[in-house]
Every structure is written in C-alpha cells, then in structure tokens.
Symmetry: C2
Subunit: 190 residues, 2 copies
C-alpha cells in the first residue's frame, strides 16, 4: 500500500469522521468544510454506483440499463417520456438501452389504454428479479451508513438531497413518489 503522505496518525479524525464544528477549529460552514462535503459526495457516489457493476456485467448491461430498469420496476406503467424526464437524456440514448432490456426480456411494453400512442413500460418477472438484485447492495450500504450516522440521519439527509435538486424539478419528484396508480398517471393534472 503506497503511503500518500508520510505522517500516519491523526487521532482526532481517523476513527470516526469529525467535523470542524466538533473540533471547534473552524467556522460552522467554512469554505474548506463545504469543499470536503462536495468531495465526500463524489466519493460516496463513486462507491455507491460501483456496487451493482459486477452483477450488471453478468448480463452484459451497464449503468444506463440499471437506471432504466430501476425506475420502470419501481414505477410500473412509466412511459418513455417519463423516463426521459427522469434521466435527462435524449430519446435516442434511451432507445438503445431500452431496446436491449426489452429484447432480453427484462421489460415489456403495453400500449396505453386511453392513449394508444403511449408505450407503458413494465418489468417482467426476470426484470423484477434483476432490479431487486441490483438494488440490494445499495440498500445495504445506505442502511449501514444511516445506522452509523445517527437517528436524525435519514430525515436530515432526505431533506438535504431534496433541497439539492433543482427546485424546478421538485414537483416532478413528488409526483413520481406519489405515483401509486398505473392507469392514468403521467398526465399533468392542472
């Protein structure tokens, strides 16, 4: 193991992550502390997204497939347009990945009941199984991190993440979360 830096012992920070607040060495929201938060987000996301990669490789899929599979599995009856809105990618980008998921029997398409132009998306049994396998290590990671981060951590981090999302997207997120019925959802109700 290559040591990046020669000095090894930093007892005040090595065991459990302590903040500047706790050490009383800095203002509560110092620049440095903010930058570290940004970097922690990068590291956390880096490791978080790496979890499902091994499983995906078994199927010849990548992360793009994971995203699509996850949201379709989680919100059955999603339309292509909804997915585009969620993923913020182009139709052509989505098409390739979606086609592979359909061709490999992970996702099924059904014409919309009231609007037959729509293709409502659903996971098959296989697709559901894979989606569950993929999210399992990510859930475990989150649960563990929440347990280590105090009782407030779930509520607080939920709020923080929500507030980090573009406010123009807040309504879409809430609408997605409250999507409990498959038939006529997706239309913008006034």
């Amino acid at each position: 193991m290559t040591d990046i830096i020669s000095h090894n012992n930093r007892p005040s920070r090595s065991a459990a992550m302590q903040t500047d607040d706790e050490t009383g060495k800095n203002d509560s929201a110092g620049i440095s502390s903010l930058v570290e938060l940004i970097e922690l987000l990068f590291f956390a996301y880096r490791d978080f997204t790496s979890d499902p990669d091994t499983i995906l490789a078994e199927f010849g899929f990548g992360r793009a497939h994971h995203r699509v599979l996850h949201f379709v599995n989680r919100y059955p009856g999603l339309r292509v347009a909804d997915l585009l809105d969620i993923l913020k990618i182009t139709k052509q980008s989505l098409a390739r990945v979606l086609k592979q998921l359909v061709d490999s029997g992970m996702i099924e398409q059904q014409p919309g009941r009231s609007d037959r132009r729509e293709r409502r998306l659903f996971t098959t049994k296989r697709g559901r199984k894979l989606a569950e396998r993929l999210i399992e290590p990510q859930m475990a990671r989150i649960v563990r991190a929440l347990e280590l981060s105090g009782d407030e951590s779930h509520k607080v981090s939920r709020k923080l993440l929500y507030n980090m999302i573009n406010s123009t997207e807040h309504e879409a997120v809430m609408k997605l979360f409250s999507r409990t019925h498959a038939k006529t959802s997706g239309k913008r109700p006034e």
Copy 2:
C-alpha cells in the same frame, strides 16, 4: 419549513409491484423510504453535476476534466498515482484528459524534488480561476440546501456521506483531507 417528503407510509401502488411494505412488514426505516432516498441521491447528483457543464463547454472540456482540475487545484502537488487512486480510473483514461489540461495551460507538471520520476501537478493561474468558477455554483447549491435542511444538516450529511464510502477507502479520504496546502485552509493543527 418544508416538511417535504415526509410520507412514512405509502399505499401499495400496483398489484404487479411487490414491495415489502405491501406485506405490512415495515422496518423502522421502511423499504420504500430507503428506495426514495436512493432516488433522491440520483436526482441530487444529476442536478449537482449538471451545474458546471455550461462553463466547461466554453472550454471544450467535460466532467472528467472538471474532476482532475478540481483535485489538482484543491491538493496542489498531487501525483498522477494519487489522482488514479481518487478517481478510480485507468492511467490511460486519465492521461488523455490530463494532457488536454496541460496543453491548454490549466495544469503544470513539476518533477518531484526527492523523486524525479514523479510529476507533481499544480494548477496554473488560469486553471485556478476555472476551478473556482466551476465549484462556485456547486457551493451555492450546497449552501442553500444546507440552510434549508436544518442546523444539523452539515454535520449529519457529512457523516452519512463518509459512511457511504467503502471503508477500505476511509483512510485514503482522511489522508487526502489532511493534506494541507497550509495557506487557504485553516485546518486542525494537531
């Protein structure tokens, strides 16, 4: 203020979709609530990383350039090997991006003083300026989100993100953070 996203229990959404909360067995956190946290992380990261894109486009750079520029700017004197360890990409991937940053006068290389095989990396004045421009909207986003998320949010989210990182990486992260560029950061002196 915003008690957004406070629904603990959601009704089942579809017969086809079998989640554990439909069985009535909710652990304290709730599967559904955990999945929403995962989705919020996706949305937050999606919007967070989109901030610098416009600026990067001006220079013909992408996110890969941003990452390299950020870490070199933040931790001057970083070696190529350090960057590889941070970014978890291959040397060949890094090389392309790094070369472009060097060629465009954003990053300079200096042979290590004690080991002349090393290429210590530093941002130039231009590079520093760009790095600051890039992080500015991200800082603003974080600050705003922290303000909206309560007094605890900085400390708690810092802990959570840290705990989401692979524990095998904890030491590397702490070592990086303690790597002081003495002038700008008032960091805990031991």
